[in-house]
């Protein structure tokens, strides 16, 4: 049984931005990097990956360029734009706040109410 958690809606974009912020990546590389940095704790629907990449590119948060990959194969590399970097910062902040709030809510005990 797969013990990995499903992605919350809206978090894929954030994860992609984060993954790309660590260095330009092609599509499959983004997938691997997300798995890697999440400690293989998240399950990414591959079907959602490319539409998300195209959407982010259309919103001008990512830019793409064709280049040669590690084993000299042609690949399309995505990198963050300035707008993307700002977006990542904002969303990461929001996310931290949300996590803190949820965590606090979940750790509440009857005595504290």
């Amino acid at each position: 049984m797969d013990r990995r958690a499903d992605l919350l809606p809206g978090t894929l974009d954030l994860l992609i931005l984060k993954a790309v912020s660590l260095g330009p990546q092609h599509g499959y590389g983004v997938l691997l990097r997300i798995e890697q940095i999440s400690g293989r704790g998240l399950r990414i629907e591959q079907g959602a990956l490319y539409p998300a990449l195209y959407r982010l590119e259309h919103k001008n948060l990512l830019e793409s360029k064709w280049g040669a990959s590690e084993n000299n194969r042609r690949a399309k590399f995505y990198r963050l734009t300035a707008a993307g970097r700002k977006q990542l910062r904002d969303e990461a902040d929001d996310w931290q706040k949300l996590v803190a709030a949820i965590k606090a809510a979940l750790s509440a005990r009857p005595a504290e109410v």
Partner: protein, 880 residues
């Protein structure tokens, strides 16, 4: 052209690159995944399968990517367009009928709109045309020249006033004289209008000071091109007008056609040359209102200010010259159509025609809506399938809308094409008149924008019906084999309403057509006061070749005797002009014993100077008294023959022979020697007008129309007369040669034009109604083939079958017919503005219209009815 093709090409190739890159990206993703899986120990085949599965459905995935990238919208529009084009091609019959009826509807509207724009909306083609106003006196379009001069010099609100007059002239370019039409115009004409010459110079105020002292001419561009072969040395060249030398000063710009929108002048001559051009002078006669006047108001001046300034002046002038100016009121009108005298009827006529054209378009829309509705019902299954496999309703609606708009744009384009062709013909058309009547209608951007707008509105309108069906569609029922609408059958469908409306509109238009036909028949049967058949005429103006009165009179007599000798001629006479032509003269007369001789106290009467034998030749009945004889000459008692209305109004008795009347205070009395029947003189629709005829030997008129009655064909006679006149004087230009009936074309022109327009609309409406009724009836039969089959199988009689399939259609037709006839009755006012003496309250017209509609209905429903009757129950039941 090249740049555009290049751009399209680049967009397309880029698009392909984009798709290729997407494909490559996905492929390399799968490859890498497969490698990883293989490395992790999965068998190669299994890895490939799993990698592909993980990525998901390739096509929908790509679609999502495209959408994410903002490419979906143009893609879908393109798909819609392709799909629409395919659908339209598949049902070619529908497409052709629809596009054609739209083309006709839109074409008709475009033509009418263009004509309205050219005649009513468009200002004169000069700088700041909004400052120009036509001055009319008490709703009469002309002023006397002394009044013009006083108003010009004494007003405070206008920056300039021009007076002008249309005038025929005998132009001799070296190879014989032609009669051409031009303007006599005051010297400031071009300066006030602010037009610049294309060659040479125009005349100015200082060129127009003393009578007969400024023999200058300005040619129109077309005149310079056609009559002088674009002579580069035209400026300064001497030409002969009415046998006198004139110097050409310059050539007007190509687009300038003077100050009337319906007239094409060829030449402008300074007003002071009027005595020479017209042979007699009215420049100093305050009682002769012969000049048209246009003024340019000073910038910033309102119409009210200008008008009140003019009327203050008119009051002063009335006080100073009560004899001719008593009661003078001035008002402003837009220039171009001879003030409100021409503008009001033109606006009424064109407005009426525009309403009819709009009705045709509405009928076309209703027709298309019902056809498209019927088609949508047939496509119900297709739509239901598309809905059930996940197409959004909005997407399908958009698809239908695309189809309608594509269709209406095709129709609109075709309509524009038709309109352009028709307008070309109209602009090139010359009225069969001895007068350069021409309306320049050039379709421009605004007209095409109008057509485009109309097409789009039409497209949206007629996609409403199918759109409603899509909205109500229920895929489950449709796929279970239930025909559309069966689930919740309304008693009255929108379609039914459309058909009724269409039939009603068609009925109105058909009624209009019949009304106009009857109007024309009436116009043709109007008693004109003469028997025109068998009479041939020829016109010439002796002033154009400078005959004096004595020579002129003897020439007229000689010409008369010469044509009377021609074989086949039974009667011959001449007159200064003939009734119902464009040449009218009027004068004011006073009953004998009058003491007040101010103009407005007198009675206005048209007059003609006619030779002895005129009434006999024209076939005008003499009611009392005698015809003129050659003894009624200058030495004899001044006499006149009058018509019955004149006799009643001036002499106060029907039998007025022996009574007298006066032209003015110190004029000798005129004795009435004969009374002739009333006729029509200016238009066929006029009220009885007092008319007097003067003996030509007593009152010479250089303008001459020779008329002969003969048993020979009129064309032949006309040619003979032309030869005879040419033999008498080779220099004399003749015009208006032909049969009298031909020359009367102008009088019948409005009735003819109305009949042609209304018949065209009627025909369009009939075509639309036939397709509409046929379409609906055929549809109703085809939808119920099975049901009819069952009925026939269980023994229904043909009559029952017909009642069953067509009952509803005929009910709708009857309702439409009644509504249409009622509407026609209500539209009587509208029709009478277009057609002379016409009323839709004519039982014959209503009967004919009703009959025509019934025939149309029967004809259109005939084929579907036969199909219903020929249904074979066995085959029908196996159907589906």
């Amino acid at each position: 052209m090249f740049a555009r093709a290049h751009r399209i090409w680049r967009a397309l190739t880029r698009r392909t690159t984009w798709e290729n890159e997407l494909e490559e990206e996905l492929r390399s993703h799968v490859e890498r995944r497969v490698e990883d899986l293989v490395r992790a120990g999965v068998a190669r085949d299994e890895s490939v399968r799993r990698a592909r599965m993980e990525l998901g459905g390739r096509e929908s995935y790509k679609e999502q990517c495209r959408e994410a990238h903002g490419l979906r919208w143009p893609d879908e529009v393109r798909q819609d367009l392709w799909y629409a084009a395919r659908t339209l091609r598949r049902s070619l019959g529908f497409t052709v009928v629809a596009a054609l009826s739209l083309a006709l509807g839109i074409g008709a509207n475009t033509v009418v709109f263009s004509v309205i724009r050219a005649l009513v909306l468009k200002p004169l083609p000069v700088p700041s045309p909004n400052e120009l106003y036509f001055i009319q006196a008490s709703n009469y379009p002309s002023l006397s020249f002394p009044n013009y001069r006083d108003i010009r010099d004494r007003n405070t609100t206008f920056s300039g006033f021009v007076a002008y007059r249309m005038a025929p002239m005998g132009l001799d370019t070296g190879g014989g004289a032609y009669r051409i039409w031009g303007y006599l115009a005051t010297g400031n004409y071009f300066d006030v209008l602010d037009v610049l010459p294309s060659k040479g110079r125009f005349f100015h105020a200082e060129d127009d000071r003393q009578p007969n002292a400024s023999p200058y001419a300005v040619l129109s561009y077309a005149c310079w091109q056609n009559r002088f072969a674009s002579d580069p040395n035209i400026v300064g060249r001497t030409i002969h007008i009415n046998s006198l030398p004139y110097t050409v000063l310059g050539v007007a710009p190509a687009g300038f056609r003077g100050t009337e929108l319906f007239y094409v002048p060829e030449i402008w001559v300074p007003m002071m040359m009027q005595p020479q051009i017209e042979g007699h002078s009215w420049l100093d006669r305050r009682g002769d209102s012969n000049s048209w006047v246009i003024g340019r108001v000073k910038p910033g001046m309102t119409v009210q200010q200008a008008e009140s300034n003019l009327n203050a002046l008119a009051t002063v002038l009335a006080k100073e010259f009560p004899e001719s100016n008593e009661g003078l009121r001035l008002s402003l009108a837009r220039p171009g159509l001879v003030g409100n005298m021409g503008r009001a009827p033109a606006e009424a006529l064109l407005g009426g025609v525009m309403i009819l054209a709009a009705l045709v378009l509405v009928a076309a829309c209703a027709n298309l809506a019902s056809l498209a509705g019927a088609r949508a019902a047939d496509r119900y299954r297709e739509i239901a399938i598309r809905l059930s496999i996940g197409a959004g309703r909005a997407r399908i609606l958009r698809q239908l809308l695309t189809e309608s708009i594509l269709l209406s744009l095709i129709g609109g384009a075709a309509g524009c094409g038709l309109a352009v062709v028709f307008l070309r013909l109209l602009s090139a058309w010359r009225a069969p008149l001895d007068f350069p009547l021409q309306v320049e209608v050039t379709p421009d951007g605004r007209v095409f924008a109008f057509a485009l707008f109309v097409s789009l509105v039409t497209g949206v309108l007629f996609s409403i019906a199918p759109a409603r069906q899509v909205w109500d569609a229920n895929p489950n029922e449709a796929l279970k084999g239930m025909p559309s609408g069966m689930g919740k059958r309304r008693r009255w469908a929108f379609r039914d309403f459309l058909l009724t409306a269409q039939v009603a509109l068609c009925c109105v238009l058909v009624t209009g057509c019949f009304v106009s036909l009857r109007g024309l028949a009436r116009a043709l049967a109007t008693p004109t006061g003469f028997q025109g058949r068998g009479v041939s005429v020829i016109g010439f103006d002796l002033a154009l070749v400078r005959y004096n009165q004595e020579d002129g009179q003897s020439f007229q007599r000689h010409a008369l005797e010469a044509v009377a000798q021609l074989p086949g001629v039974t009667d011959a006479a001449y007159a200064s002009s003939i009734p119902l032509s464009l040449d009218h003269s009027s004068t004011t007369v006073f009953p004998e014993g009058a003491v007040d001789f101010r103009d407005f106290k007198g009675i206005g009467a048209n007059y003609y100077d006619v030779s002895p034998g005129y009434f006999h030749t024209m076939g005008t009945r003499l009611v009392a008294g005698r015809e003129f004889t050659w003894h009624d000459d200058a030495r004899a008692q001044k006499v006149a023959i009058v018509n019955e209305t004149f006799a009643r109004k001036v002499a106060g008795a029907r039998d007025a022979v022996g009574r007298r009347f006066l032209y003015g205070r110190d004029e000798p009395p005129i004795e009435i020697v004969g009374v002739v029947e009333d006729g029509r003189y200016v238009t066929l629709a006029e009220d009885p007008t007092p008319v007097l005829f003067r003996p030509a030997p007593q009152s010479y008129n250089a303008t001459t129309v020779l008329a002969v009655r003969s048993s020979l064909p009129e064309g032949l006679m006309a040619a003979e007369m032309r030869r005879t006149i040419a033999a008498l004087d080779t220099r004399l230009p003749v015009y208006g040669v032909g049969s009298l009936m031909q020359m009367l074309g102008e009088a019948f022109l409005p009735a003819r034009a109305a009949t042609i327009a209304l018949s065209a609309f009627g025909l369009l409406a009939v075509m639309l109604a036939v397709t509409g009724i046929y379409g609906l009836a055929a549809y109703s039969v085809s939808r119920r083939v099975r049901e009819i089959g069952i009925r026939i199988a269980v023994g229904a009689q043909p009559w029952h079958v017909l009642q069953f399939v067509l009952g509803r259609t005929s009910l709708l037709l009857s309702i439409g017919l009644c509504v249409g006839l009622a509407l026609s009755l209500a539209a009587s006012q509208l029709l009478s503005s277009i057609v002379y003496q016409a009323s839709s309250r004519d039982p014959l017209v209503l009967l004919a219209a009703a009959l025509a509609m019934v025939l149309i209905g029967l004809g259109a429903a005939c084929a579907p009815a036969r199909r219903a009757l020929s249904i074979d129950p066995l085959r029908a039941l196996r159907h589906e």
